[in-house]
């Protein structure tokens, strides 16, 4: 019954779509990086994200929350994620094992947890 409910739930299918999209993103990043330089890959990658960003903006009828703090954090998030993306393309460009690079870089929540404990003083969960 629980499995049936899960299979019917929209969140389950959205989660699977996310896994497929991100898996496809990593694979295509590797394919493109065989020839294209990391800088150009990051340049083109950003252009690729624009249609989705614009679609979201249009769906919200161009209404955004006027929170300078929230916007600043999100912009910095984009800059850091972009630099990280550039390094990822560089790692793929070296011709290394794709699975190893993808799995190694997917461990980034480890750094987020450490930073959250140190900077935000959140409680440390020994399970983590």
């Amino acid at each position: 019954m629980a499995l049936k409910d899960t299979l019917k739930a929209r969140w389950f299918w959205y989660s699977n779509l996310c896994v497929l999209c991100w898996g496809g993103w990593a694979l295509l990043s590797r394919l493109g990086s065989r020839e294209i330089s990391p800088q150009t890959m990051q340049f083109l990658f950003t252009i690729g994200t624009l249609p989705v960003g614009l679609a979201l903006l249009m769906a919200r009828k161009f209404k955004m929350e006027p929170s300078p703090r929230g916007i600043t954090y999100a912009l910095l998030n984009g800059v850091l994620a972009g630099i990280g993306g550039l390094a990822l393309f560089a790692a793929y460009h070296t011709g290394s094992n794709t699975a190893m690079v993808t799995v190694a870089t997917a461990l980034y929540p480890m750094i987020t947890v450490v930073l959250a404990v140190v900077l935000l003083r959140i409680g440390f969960d020994w399970f983590k």
Partner: protein, 138 residues
């Protein structure tokens, strides 16, 4: 011990994305997840002048240029799907570990698409990392 070049690049990615993960959390304390994604794209755009390839872009094959563009589309679509999963009633404690398993798609497809193989030791390392990814995302 010889450390391969990809390791250092992957380490930079790990540190940057780790910091980005924290900033994402902080931004969504003030604005919605969708707005956060829109501003994230604007953040990407801020870097564009530094990566502008000029005429050298025409030296690459159109197939590889298409892969690069499509990788951006898929990444943003994946982020949208994650937010949609959370908005449509998915618990973060379940959705986050599930979506963090995207490397499995790569591991499954790489032998066929790129004809790459992995050693038993690498399999052990990948398995440990995948367990860590799920535990960290929970």
């Amino acid at each position: 011990m010889h450390v391969p070049p990809w390791f250092w690049f992957a380490l930079v990615t790990l540190l940057c994305w780790g910091g980005a993960g924290l900033l994402q959390k902080l931004s969504t304390n003030h604005i919605s997840a969708e707005s956060s994604l829109i501003w994230l794209v604007v953040g990407f755009l801020l870097l564009e002048p530094f990566f502008y390839p000029g005429k050298s872009i025409f030296t690459y094959s159109s197939v590889n240029l298409a892969w690069a563009l499509l990788s951006g589309v898929l990444n943003a679509l994946g982020a949208w799907a994650l937010f949609a999963a959370l908005k449509s009633g998915g618990k973060a404690s379940i959705v986050a570990p599930v979506t963090a398993l995207y490397p499995l798609v790569v591991i499954a497809l790489v032998p066929f698409v790129l004809k790459e193989s992995i050693t038993p030791l690498q399999v052990a390392g990948i398995t440990c990392s995948l367990i860590a990814i799920v535990l960290l995302s929970a």
